[in-house]
Structures are given as C-alpha cells and as structure tokens.
Amino acid sequence: MKSFFISRLLQTIPTLLIIATLTFFMTRFAPGGPFDSEKAIPEEIKVNLESHFGLNLPLFDQYLLYMKNLLAGDLGPSFKYVGWDVSELIGVAFPVSLGLGVSALLIALFVGLPAGMVAALRKNTLWDYLPMGLAMVGICLPTFVLGPILIMIFSTKLNLLPALGWYSWSDLILPSLTLGLFYAAYIARLTRAGMLETLKQDYVRTARAKGASPSRVVIKHALRGGLLPVVTFLGPAFAGLVSGSFIIESIFFIPGLGKFFVTAAFNRDYTMVLGTVLFYATLIIALNLLVDFLQAWLDPKAREQR
C-alpha cells in the first residue's frame, strides 16, 4: 500500500512536466499571438509589447525560462488581464468555482444517491421508472437549457432569486441546482446499476441469511459495493466541477475558473492556458489518487491486489 502510494505520487511529476511541455508548444504553434488585434499595430510597437513579456526570445529559451519559473512556483503574468499574475487570477477564481462545485456536488449526491437506491430496491415499479426517467431527462437536458429555464421561473416570473452574479448567498442556489441536477442524473443511474449488481452478490445473500437487519444489509453490505461505480465517477466529476464550468459561468455571470480556461486559448494568453491546464491536471491527478484509495477501502478485492 505504501509503495503503491509513493510510486503513484512519483508518477505525477513526469506527467505534469510532459503536460506542461506539450501545452507550451501546442499553444505556441497555434496561429496568431496575444497581441494581434483588428487594429493594425506598427511592427516596432508589437516588438516592444512582446519584449515586455519575453516573447521576443527564441522559443526554446522561452520554454526553459518558463519551466525554470514554474519549478519555482511562478506561473507568470497574464497577457490578457494585464497587471495580474496567473496564480493571482486562479487564486481569486478558484474559491468561487470550489464553492459552486461543492454545493453542486452535494445537491447531486443528495438527489442522485437516494433516487438511485430507491430505483434499485423497487426495480421495475413506478419508484424505478420515475426517478430513472427524470434522470434520463436530466442527462439529456443540457445546462444551457436548464439554467435559463430555472432563471425564467425563479427570477423573471417569481422574482425570488437573483438571475445572475456572485455577490450573496442566494446567488449560489440557481447555478448549483443547474449544475447539480445534471450530475445527480448520472449519479442516480450509476447508483442504481451498482446496487442492482451488488444485490445479486452472494455476500449480500449470506448477510441476509445470517439474519442481518434489512437496513444493515443495504447500508453496510450492498451500498458499499454499489457505490463503487459512483466513486469512480466522482473523482473526475469533482475535478470538473471545481475547475469551473464555462457555460454555467456565462449564463449566471459567475467569476469562476471555467472562463479563464476557455477564453485563455482564444486570447492566446499563453501563461494563462498553461496555468489553468496545469492546475486542472494537478487536480485530476490528486483526485484520481484519492479515488483509488477510496476504492481500495470500499472494495476488498482491490485492497488485496495492491
């Protein structure tokens, strides 16, 4: 277990270095640059602008410089939001995305887990069809449709909740519902499938035969195995949630990370692209690692193998 942990941790370093290198060169090979604009800039001005950001150096030197700064923990200045450092911007936007992501995930779990469990226990009844039907709608209904519908009902018509912004607690509700219900639908389906699978297992039957109380059978024995697919899904889902959603942020005007992620590429904001990609990669790696441990804890078979 310990050696597994150490080797996985060591693997992350080369992974991140490779991601940084690939991203660095891929962004540089895209046509255009951060200072291209519709208005023509005289060549000498452009050279001056670029030299401010070290873009006049040979590409490989820029790469070495970037890597050197990166190892020192410096992600460099943003080219688009001039006067801000990339780490500063991520530092401002990440708590926003984290807040939104965690509350969406809580909604997803609170709605998705019970719905999936009920559906599995009452297979092929209304208690199964109704939540699963809704889950199917939830999966098919994109957030950019659900979001405006919720806003129309709760903000424009009922005038109960703010339609946009990120200034008070009430601003949290609609976006986390929009995002959470989408994930709830997935979780419900995964929970149902996982539960159905484990309910058929011998050990569940054994538990029952040994006289364990029904709630103990479900919660202690069936649920633990049934949650495995959900946990596998949760790792990357959580990383995706807390690293921001461009669509939700645009609909609800939320100053999260997702916007930086998407627009940085369009703006050729090289340092920002690298910063967000590395941040996301680190998050994914860390969470996947966490998922592996959780799985080992939940699944005795996986524990054995390691």
């Binding site: 291209d36 001005i45 602008l49 401010h52 009920v118 039957r205 029904p214 100053p255």
Partner: protein
C-alpha cells in the same frame, strides 16, 4: 443454481428498508425545500439594484467585456473607455448631446491664427483624487509617456498631430532633440503645437490616449515605460475625473464612486457606477429584466423583434460610428480585376440585407463613411445593378476563357452574425451571377493572422471611428497604412486625403472626402455593407443619457429619476 434463492421472500425482506429509505428521501427533500425556502424568503424581500437605485443614485452598467488595461495609455477597448472616462478627464470634456468640446481640466483655450498652436488655461481648482493640483506638467509627462517608444502604446499614433511627436515615438530622437510641440508656459498654461492644422483636434482630446496620469503614482510603481504594473489597482489608482476607482473584482465588477476632489463635483449626481463585464447578450438581458442592470451593452439579435414589440420603452436603436464591410485581396486573381470586384459589389442588395437578414435597424452602406460623420455625408457610390454586374463578369470570363468564376473563399471569424451575412451574400451572388463561393469561418486569432499575412480572397471586416471626423474612416485606405491590407494603393486618393487633412474650411474638406469616397466606389478595394447601430436596453429611469455617435455618455450629467422622460 441456488435452488433456495427462489424461496427467499426477496421483496418482503426489503419492504422495511424501502420504507425507511423513502422516509429518509422525504426528510432530505423536506430539508432541501426548507433551505431553499429560507433563501427564497430572505432574498425575495430584498429589492433589486434598479429598485434601490433612485435613492442610492448608483448606476448599474453592462460593460460587455473585462477591459484588458485600465491604463489610459495602453487601453484599446470600448470597455476601457467606459471606465476611464469616469476616472480621468482631459483638457476638454464632451457635451452630453453633441460630444462637442466643452471646458474640462482646461477652463479656456486660445487658438493661434494659423490654427496650429493651442494655449490651454488649466483651471486652478482641478485636482487629482488625492488632492494634488492638476498642472500643465502632468499633461507633458503623460504625452511623453504614451509617445515613449519603450512603452509600446498601441494608440500613440493618436498624438501624431503634435509637432514632431512621430519622430520621437519612432525612437529616432530623444524628447528634447525631437522638440515635440508640447510646452508648459507656466504651471497652469499648456501650449500645444500641431504638425498641421487639424480641425478635429479638440474632439481628439477626448480620446483616452490624451488623458493625463498622476506622475507620483506612476513613479511609485515605475510604470513610466512598463506594462503590467499595479498602479491601476483600486487602492493605487489616482485619477482626476468625476469618479474614483473603488473596487475591481475581475470578471465580476468594477466600481467607481463620485469624487469630492473633482472640480465640477457639484454637477455629478450619481454616487457610484458599477460596471459588470457580462459578455453574453442573453445573460445581460436576463440581468436587465430582473432589475440587476440599468443599461446593457448590446441585445442578442434573435431577441430584437420580441423586445421591440413587447418592451419598446426599453430597447434603443442609436446610430453608431461604425461600418461593416468586406475586404478584397487585390494581390491575387480574381480580385485583381476591377470587373470582378465591381460585379460582386453591384449584385449585393444591401437594403434586403439589413431589412431581412440583420433586422436590427442597421443602415445599408453605399459608401464607407457613416452618414453625418462630423457633418460629412458621402454621396451614394456603391450601387445595386445585377444586370450590369452580369455583363461585367461575362466580359471578364470571356477574356480569361472561363465558363464560370472559379470558386473562391469568403473568410470570417466564427460568429452567428457574420455567418448570417456571409450566407446572405453567398445566396445573392449565386442568384445574380451564378458564382459559387465557399464560406470559411475561422477562430478569431487565426482569422487575424491570415488577414494580416494577406492569405485570403474576400474577408469580413469592421471599423469603428475613434473620433467624429471622416478622417478616422478614410485614412484607412491610404497607401502603406497598416489597416489597409487589401493591396490597394491610389496616389490620387492619398493626395485628396492629405488635402482634406490640411484644409480648415469644412466645405472644402468635404469635397476632398467626397473625392476619396468616389475613388473607393470606382475602384472597389472594399465592399461596404452596412453601418452599425447601437442596440441596447436602457431603463426608463436613466436620465441625462443621450444617443451619441461614439456611444459616449459623460457620466457627470447622468442621473436616475422616475420622472416621465
């Protein structure tokens, strides 16, 4: 396999669990509803921004985009203008209705007989937000900074009207050697000497590139020739305009509050303005409808019809100083031949384009300069005559021994609006000329890079005027101008433009401008399609806000009142 399994009363075994589970689901739902309800009731009592605004006098402003810079010498966007015009004031200010120059930091000015020297009297009561007086030297420092070649200011060429400014900016001489036409006669009088007579000089001074910056602040942050310093952060920014920067949360809000130090503070009625960089038009509209915003930057084109019908009191269509056009690449066939360009131009039905495709109140463009730009309205040059177009194209095809025009590409940057226009033109050309064109959409930076390299046949473009004078449009097509990019060059055009720049008599200037327009319509290096219109939503309580060509609205005249407008 397990014979006993079918005897186990499976469902019975789980009935109790089901019950307890369903109960817990119910409990969870109740809890959720309770939490939601708490928020609903706590928030529904709170009045919206717009409802509170009349008492608070806070204007909530849809900014459209986060400005890249809040440094007047580096800024390049409309969003930056909207902020900077609150924070800083130049020598002159703008009339809220006509944008004609009014006294600003300068209380008066004298213009020499040859119209090349201006002496500005800076008012003694003009103050920076920290209480320092605004002096002639502040302006000299600012002009020196934006023209400093090391700063890399994109709008430095706005100051080229100053004598010798260009030589200094190109780095050929130092400030003293170049003898730039800027001089402080004493602490409160500033003399500016121009290269040529420039009839629109005072209007030009309202562009943010001419705004002053606070020397001690810039020195503190070593920002004289450096980009990206922290002097523009709220705690550091010291301006001299009617408002001072109080908050800046990126992609969320920029807030300015009325300054007591401003010389005309008594006139300012708003206590604050909150700018929200909302990029999505639909989100802006939802914000407007729920009382979050007073003013939006734009309106989604799909929503115009609905809003026009249901809420005519909100939606405003106002002329805007901009032209939407296509560029021909004259360096490669088939557009090196005038007949092809002319044939394409003559078969565009611009009226149909604006009325049936765009539907946003835009005006068809039969010339390049928008109507009534600084008093100049060009005559209709580009016509619509599909029959003549066919004749012209046939003559070209015959000469080249072709059956049809080889398909060519029309490039535009990815956007629904550009696509609509391109498809409309594609259909018009197919119908009138039987020409097949291929539409190529590109991501913005890829598009820019291929246009700059001349790697295109026909490409979409737009131009927004920087000041209200035809020169801001017509100078584009001068030989060697960086924005020309069509490969078109005409000495007669250059001459007419130079004559217009040097002449002070408006009637005479307009003749030269008209000559320029005539040459464009004859040679067709570009295909003007329509003139922009500013479509926005504005709450009826916003007063003192008038339609202007540059979409400038000097904030010191704006206030919020429910009175009938």
């Amino acid at each position: 396999m397990y014979p006993f399994s079918c005897h186990v009363p499976y469902p019975v075994q789980f009935r109790n669990i089901k019950k307890s589970l369903i109960q817990s689901v119910k409990a969870a739902l109740l809890l959720g509803v309770g939490i939601l309800g708490h928020f609903l009731f706590s928030s529904c009592s709170a009045p919206s921004n717009v409802e509170r605004a009349i008492d608070e006098q806070i204007l909530h402003f849809g900014l459209g985009a986060e400005p890249q810079y809040l440094d007047p010498h580096l800024a390049t966007s409309v969003a930056a203008h909207n902020i900077l015009s609150a924070l800083l004031e130049g020598l002159v200010s703008e009339d809220p209705k006509t944008l004609k120059p009014l006294p600003g930091v300068a209380e008066s000015w004298v213009i020499s007989e040859d119209k090349k020297t201006y002496i500005f009297q800076i008012r003694k009561e003009a103050r920076w937000h920290n209480g320092d007086p605004v002096t002639a030297n502040d302006f000299i420092y600012s002009y020196k900074r934006i023209l400093n070649p090391n700063l890399g200011a994109q709008y430095a060429s706005m100051l080229y009207v100053l004598k010798n400014a260009k030589i200094y900016h190109e780095g050929k001489k130092t400030w003293d050697e170049a003898n730039v036409g800027v001089k402080a006669l004493n602490t409160h009088s500033l003399q500016l000497t121009l290269e040529n007579q420039t009839p629109y000089f005072l209007e030009l001074l309202n562009h943010y590139s001419w705004f002053p910056v606070h020397q001690p602040t810039l020195e503190k942050f070593d920002a004289f020739a450096r980009i990206g310093t922290k002097w523009t952060k709220p705690q550091n920014f010291i301006g001299n305009g009617p408002f001072q920067l109080s908050d800046h949360k990126i992609n969320s809000v920029i807030e300015v509050k009325a300054s007591k130090e401003y010389w005309d503070a008594n006139r300012t009625k708003l206590s604050a303005i909150r700018f929200y960089p909302i990029e999505t038009a639909d989100t802006e509209e939802r914000g407007f409808r729920t009382g979050f915003l007073h003013v939006t930057q734009t309106v989604s084109s799909d929503r115009i019809d609905f809003l026009k019908k249901k809420h005519p009191e909100w939606i405003h269509f106002e002329p805007y100083l901009g032209t939407y056009y296509y560029r021909f690449n004259l360096k490669a066939p088939p557009f090196d031949d005038l007949r092809v360009r002319k044939a394409l131009s003559l078969s565009v039905n611009r009226k149909l384009l604006v009325e049936k495709v765009l539907k946003g109140g835009q005006l068809p463009a039969y010339c390049f300069t928008p109507p009534d730009t600084g008093g100049f309205t060009a005559k209709k040059g580009y016509g619509y005559d599909p029959e003549q177009a066919k004749v012209l194209l046939d003559s070209y095809l015959k000469e080249k021994g072709l059956q049809t025009l080889p398909p060519f590409e029309l490039s535009y940057n990815t956007s629904e609006g550009h696509k609509k226009v391109a498809e409309a033109l594609q259909a018009m050309w197919k119908k009138s000329l039987g020409v097949d064109i291929q539409l190529t959409n590109m991501e913005w930076k890829v598009f820019l890079s291929s246009i700059t390299k001349g790697d295109y046949a026909l490409a979409r473009a737009g131009w927004i005027g920087d000041y209200v004078d035809a020169n801001t449009f017509l100078h584009l097509w001068r030989t060697g101008e960086g924005n020309n990019l069509t490969g078109w060059s005409n000495q007669e055009y250059d001459r007419a433009l130079n004559l217009a720049e040097q002449s002070l008599n408006p009637a005479e200037r307009f003749i030269h401008f008209q000559n320029c327009e005539d040459l464009l319509a004859e040679e067709i290096p570009i295909l003007p399609l329509y003139f922009y219109v500013q479509v926005s939503l504005r709450h009826p309580s916003v007063q003192g806000w008038y339609p202007t060509l540059l979409d400038h609205h000097p904030y010191k005249y704006v206030y919020l009142d429910n009175g009938v407008k």
